[in-house]
């Protein structure tokens, strides 16, 4: 859990500085109202109750909201396994083998088909 808390902190910090990489300005311009900002809405997504829900929520939310789960078709075990593996192998999700099994099982039980 400690590892995840740290990662989430990184997420928040890097969100804040994501835009501040404009580089040195050759000829500084000063325009009034030159900063344009938006505030993204907090969209609440509820995952179904079930064994492994907290793990799924914690790990998946590192990189994306859980509507990335709820809007998917009801996939069989093979597809959910492939998806969780892709998150670990391609995107580097810090999920242990044991947790990957728990999360995959949660996904196929609550958002799966054909078991």
């Amino acid at each position: 859990m400690k590892k995840i808390t740290m990662l989430m902190t990184t997420v928040v910090l890097s969100t804040g500085i994501a835009y501040a990489q404009g580089g040195p300005s050759q000829k500084p311009e000063t325009q009034p109202g030159a900063v344009r900002s938006i505030t993204l809405p907090a969209v609440r997504i509820e995952l179904k109750e079930g064994e492994g829900r907290v793990k799924a929520e914690t790990f998946c939310n590192i990189c994306h909201s859980t509507d990335y789960i709820t809007t998917q078709p009801k996939f069989p075990l093979a597809q959910w396994t492939a998806t969780v593996n892709k998150m670990i192998k391609v995107y580097g999700a810090p999920i242990s083998e044991e947790d990957a099994k728990i999360i995959t099982n949660y996904l196929v039980t609550n958002y799966g088909a054909g078991n």
């Binding site: 580089g23 969209v43 990189c63 391609v90």
Partner: protein, 399 residues
């Protein structure tokens, strides 16, 4: 007896179940109209759009906006790939860096883009590669778009060619890569960087756009400037650009090498469920059409005229004709084409129809572009859910 609150969601669920169980002809019309029960959300600078995902946001345009030739800025779909998206930009600090295998490096401000380069304006369809993915059978993973991951927008900006020529492309250049402000939440998440072959990047119609429909880009559509690759899917149209890099070798990173690839076959398809032997980066859009009105399952009256109206576009070849069928594809008639805004724009079309007898009718539209490209009657399948352009039957009830 306990009274439960009957929410809109409950209503829609009930409507869906009733529609499935009941003969269409006996349904009240207001229930029939409820065909899309997906959740609406309002993001900054946007109207109510259909929520696919919230972070990173994927927001779909409701079909009603496609009744217009030009899609309003606040209704245009939104699609980001990695979660740290720009939410605040200081235009005084923002620069577009152009370099790599060039004679000199440029650091262009937004006013440099406006003042130092000729302003070019044209209308072009922007469409997500995965538009229509939810119609694939067997279903595939990814954003479950219906038809709303597209729009027709008038873009203004500087020619990419003019910018690259000012930097001076050196001999031996192969690809040009494009990076924007978005980043992943973990260092292991591949940064969203796309590339074009240098010859493509030097075509006349590639833009670095700073206006959409005469206004600055909305933040969620790539403020302050984005790449426009008209005729090609929007995956290339990198938002909130910061870096254009000319490369003397092929660009080999994740979003070109592993993602956004289609089977290397003539149709870009494989048999449903099959794995392609070889893949290539997705590029030009397939030709397609869509019926916008009447809406699916809307109730019509016998002998009352109704305009069947829709849109059609191609991968940059213009639209030569659109044919319409009101009997499930047995007979076809020519639709009248609307105003021509150029080969990258969509074309509105219409056909005045007067259904003679009550009954259930299957409407279809099929577009052909100026080089003969058209639409299949069966959905062409690929593992990532790209290139959707099937002739889609639409059922209406006439009483």
């Amino acid at each position: 007896m306990e009274h439960k609150r009957f929410t809109r969601r409950d209503f829609l669920k009930t409507a869906g179940a009733l529609t499935a169980m009941t003969v269409l002809g006996e349904m009240p019309l207001d229930l029939l109209a409820a065909t899309d029960e997906r959740r609406l959300v309002r993001y900054p600078e946007k109207t109510d759009l259909i929520l696919l995902t919230s972070r990173p946001p994927q927001l779909e345009t409701p079909l009603k906006y496609f009744k217009e030739l030009i899609t309003p800025n606040d209704a245009l779909f939104v699609r980001w790939h990695i979660a740290n998206i720009p939410t605040s930009i200081d235009v005084n600090q923002w620069r577009l860096k152009v370099g790599g295998n060039t004679e000199q490096e440029l650091q262009l401000s937004l006013s440099d883009l406006r003042v130092r380069f000729e302003k070019v304006t044209f209308t072009a369809v922007i469409q997500c590669a995965g538009n229509g993915r939810s119609f694939f059978e067997p279903r595939v993973a990814g954003g479950q778009w219906k038809n709303g991951a597209m729009g027709n927008v008038t873009w203004s900006g500087a020619r990419l060619k003019d910018i690259l020529n000012q930097a001076g492309i050196k001999a031996g250049s192969v690809d040009v890569s494009f990076n924007g402000l978005d980043t992943g939440t973990l260092p292991t998440v591949p940064d969203f960087i796309k590339s074009l072959p240098v010859d493509k990047a030097l075509e006349d119609d590639m833009l670095i756009a700073y206006e959409m429909n005469g206004q600055p880009l909305t933040m969620l559509n790539g403020f302050p400037a984005r790449l426009i690759v008209p005729g090609w899917y929007a995956t290339y149209w990198v938002k909130s650009l910061t870096d254009i890099t000319v490369l003397n070798k092929s660009f080999e990173e994740f979003w070109m090498k592993s993602a956004y690839r289609i089977p290397d076959t003539a149709c870009g398809c494989v048999p449903p469920g099959a794995k392609p032997q070889k893949t290539i980066p997705i590029h030009r859009m397939t030709t397609r059409s869509l019926i916008i009105t009447p809406e699916e399952r809307s109730g019509l009256k016998a002998n009352k005229p109704v305009d069947i109206m829709g849109i059609a576009f191609s991968g940059g070849y213009g639209i030569k004709d659109v044919v319409v069928s009101t009997d499930g594809g047995r007979n076809w008639v020519q639709a009248r084409l609307g105003k021509d805004l150029g080969k990258y724009s969509w074309t509105q079309w219409s056909y005045p129809w007067r259904p003679k007898k009550p009954g259930t009718y299957t409407l279809m539209a099929k577009a052909t572009d100026s080089i003969g490209g058209s639409q299949p009657f069966e959905g062409l399948w690929n593992p990532s859910g790209y290139l959707w352009n099937k002739v889609e039957p639409l059922t209406v009830v006439v009483r």
